[in-house]
Symmetry: C2
Subunit: 530 residues, 2 copies
């Protein structure tokens, strides 16, 4: 670590605050000491060269060292008008020291220190994959029960529309938002790069427009303040006229490094390398693999990483993938179909696109509310997670719906997804495990402790209460609830089910072999050990 010897604009900002630069100093000195929450954002601001092309010409990093000896090298980025920033989210409380390195003299060899303090309420840290490999939790161990939605270009809409979207989300059940960096539908913000002419394709891929990214960050940070994870989608195939996803490799690499340096310190950021990657004709599988390697190297915060397909599943076993992100509307119409994706990925699975609720004239956007909710439940029984969106709007054109631009939710699924989320939060930690899925029990939960059975559109009038389990551990007593997942009622069943051995594989209560059910669709039964 070097001693301070250059001008510095040290500014420790609390997590969630956008990066406003302090005033410049003059002589070599150390940055002022500040504090930041653990998992918050410590932003350092510098003044440096503004001539030439700083995005290409200037490199800047800082190495952060904790009192415990943890050392993390963090890339910075150019924010225009001679301002450079480095954003770092400290994973440990305590004192941190840092020193910069740059090929620009004004940015090189600056140093400083700050203290990372205990997080305030509601800051649980970034979301990570659980030790068992199939679920998510925050860094402080709090389970994260994913209920996702998608508003592709919401952050690129007018201030009023963005405010409306955020107000909607505040009252909605969603805790993860899939959102594009580049616009896919009519948007207010459309120029991530500096324009070179009036045509859609006239822009300079080597010069970012900092205002575009500052605006995006503002939305990003507001989303985080609502406790919603931002699944930031880096490329998509829907804009061949502008061609932001058809850049040359060096431009793609620079873009990944830029967004990683700008956004990666925010603890609620996830990376989705692309939406429908296999519909981007200018990139082949080897390109995607390469871009993941670039992203891993560029992102010291090691945020969650995945990629979303249209036809050809990306191989989620590749080491840079943290969880599978799947588009498939039929896979979550059966818990075993869903569960198979875990067997292939050996990682958490999120069905990020399962066809949408709405009134689209296209089959990918005309689900009823019950059909949307059904997919979430089957996904849960399969030990996986599901994502929502909706296409409702007067024009029946999804571009102008929640899916495209955000705004208001018009569908009937969100309250039922809030109800589902509560069921999930009351359930096993870290998540619902499918129980012997290869034997078609259609049960999830935790063996010998918690069983959830879901009947989908079937309308059974009774259910044989047969639970898989061997040995004395299986001989438990359970109380039962009948859950109407659409009408959002939980009806306790009187008494308990006292399990005894039924055969080599199962237990049951000979005195109560069956449970009467209401003969309506979308019923679930929950059995919890007493």
């Amino acid at each position: 670590m070097q001693v301070s010897r250059r001008t510095v604009l040290g500014s420790a900002l609390a997590a969630g605050a956008a990066g406003a630069a302090s005033s410049a100093g003059a002589a070599p000195r150390r940055a002022g000491r500040g504090t930041v929450e653990r998992w918050g954002v410590q932003e350092l601001t510098f003044h440096g060269p503004s001539g030439g092309n700083p995005f290409v010409d200037v490199n800047l990093t800082a190495t952060f060292v904790s009192a415990a000896g943890t050392q993390i090298k963090v890339p910075g980025f150019y924010d225009g008008e001679g301002v450079y920033r480095i954003r770092f989210s400290p994973p440990e409380v305590g004192s941190w020291r840092w020193a910069s390195e740059s090929n620009a003299a004004a940015l090189n060899g600056v140093s400083g220190s700050f203290d990372a303090v205990a997080p305030t309420a509601g800051n649980h840290g970034p979301v990570r994959v659980t030790r068992d490999g199939y679920h998510f939790e925050y860094a402080d161990g709090t389970p994260f029960r994913q209920i996702g939605t998608t508003c592709y270009s919401w952050a690129l809409q007018s201030d009023a529309r963005c405010a409306e979207t955020l107000a909607t989300l505040k009252a909605a059940p969603f805790n993860k938002m899939r959102m594009l960096v580049f616009p896919n539908v009519e948007s207010v913000a459309t120029n991530p790069f500096v324009r070179t002419g009036p045509g859609l394709g006239e822009w300079d891929p080597s010069r970012f427009d900092p205002a575009y990214f500052r605006r995006y960050e503002d939305r990003l940070v507001r989303l985080g303040a609502l406790g919603i994870q931002a699944d930031v989608i880096l490329f998509h195939p829907y804009d061949s006229k502008r061609g932001y996803s058809d850049m040359k490799r060096a431009d793609d690499e620079r873009y990944l490094r830029y967004v990683s340096a700008r956004f990666g310190a925010y603890r609620h950021v996830w990376w989705s390398m692309a939406n429908e990657y296999d519909a981007i004709e200018s990139k082949k599988m080897a390109d995607w693999d390469h871009l993941f390697e670039v992203l891993v190297a560029a992102d010291p915060h090691d945020r969650l990483r995945s990629i979303h397909q249209i036809h050809t599943y990306y191989d989620a076993r590749k080491p840079w993938i943290t969880h599978a992100s799947i588009q498939n509307g039929a896979a979550v119409l059966d818990d075993v179909r869903a569960e198979l994706h875990r067997d292939f990925a050996l990682k958490p699975v999120i069905f990020d696109e399962v066809v949408y609720e709405g009134n689209s004239t296209k089959r990918w956007g005309w689900l009823t509310g019950p059909e949307m909710v059904e997919r979430f439940w089957y996904g849960l029984i399969g030990g996986t997670y599901v994502g929502h969106s909706e296409t409702y709007n007067a024009a029946r054109n999804a571009d102008y719906s929640w899916l495209g631009q955000g705004g208001k939710l018009l569908g009937s699924s969100p309250p039922r997804l809030a109800f589902l989320r509560k069921i999930m939060e009351d359930g096993p930690v870290p998540g619902f495990e499918p129980i012997q899925p290869w034997w078609n029990y259609h049960l999830a939960g935790k063996p010998n402790a918690y069983f959830l059975r879901y009947f989908g559109a079937d309308q059974p009038r009774e259910w044989d209460v047969v639970l898989p389990g061997k040995g004395p551990d299986a001989l438990q007593r359970y109380r039962a609830d009948i859950i109407d997942t659409w009408n959002m009622t939980i009806t306790p069943v009187e008494g308990v089910f006292a399990m005894s051995r039924k055969n080599d594989y199962d237990v049951h209560d000979p005195a109560r072999p069956k449970l009467a059910l209401p003969g309506r669709p979308y019923i679930a039964v929950r059995l919890v050990r007493v």
Copy 2:
């Protein structure tokens, strides 16, 4: 290529004949010129050192060069008593020349030539993956419609039992047999390695017993003569007492090279690296990957390669895997579940173990005949292939059943699988493709030409004849058959269905929107373009 200068025992044997050596010559000379069928086995026999440990001490290869310039280097093997053999299956007709290389002077620099002639009837060459990536065909382009079975240790039983198994197979529908090299149940042949003492674990992994392998080859060749592919399983976890699957890495490598050199020239051989690989505790994933690399390098005939799991799916996208070999009894109870395995593997999928027909006291061996057949049909609709076996026997111990030892078939599924095979052979080339599986049509065949719908245990009395398809190509006329897959009847429906556009996605015949069905289980409907 070198000129002949050593003693040689050249012997060109027709495909299917076991390798009997000719008498030895004396002075350096060329091997006599012979002929062999294309895709047959040209076996070269040599006399060389018998002292020391020839399995370890001596290496031997021959390089074969065709008139067209194809060059193939083929490893030989030691067959005991100073006899060495090299087996080569020529992929091209015409003249082939060869020359040997060895670290043993007596085996080095021998050369010869032979002619590969056109194959006789019934020799279609080895089975390969089709160009579309999801099916199988013989080298001459004939489709291979896999209907598999498993008799793990059949080839290790008495001559009488083996003859009984072969007689059974001659009348059975199966065209692929999964069979172990090492015994898993009570067997007559139990010593692939030279014994060093009376205990089960007392054997020398560096010395093969050639008699064991000659006996195995005899069975292998007889199986091939019936037109049945031999899916040779190289390791398995069921014999911890003998420990053949718990050898050291160098012993495993030597074993793979030995079986590859001995068996690999037979055109009907497939390699299954292991049965339930993940139940073999002495080997980890990296070991299996390594062993595949060894096998690829050892096998110039490039036979089909896969591996079979109990819990953890092996990643079938790995480059050395030619097709997925899956154990999962529930995955083939729904065509979409089956089809998902193709999406993950991007290769042909064979459900080699889907639970067995029989009277076992274990749930993995108590399917009824209809349940066994149902799995084959769902697998077909999913664009995949399925394997059979059965556990019937008086003791209800699967070890002594068809599954363990071969013998007689007692189940009710085989005639229905023969019926299914005929349906497959009359169907699209190279195989049945799932048609828009992600939209839950439950149809397979060939778009706008051939549709097969299967209803499983459902008993519908009618079916809406709605076919996916857009544009003028979809506006075809179809004749229909109602197929009773259990009673093995095909009932033609009078008249045709003349398709017109129904909506953006589907076509139907407004004059005949529905087809009446018999209200029995296990019904299929076949629509063929007229």
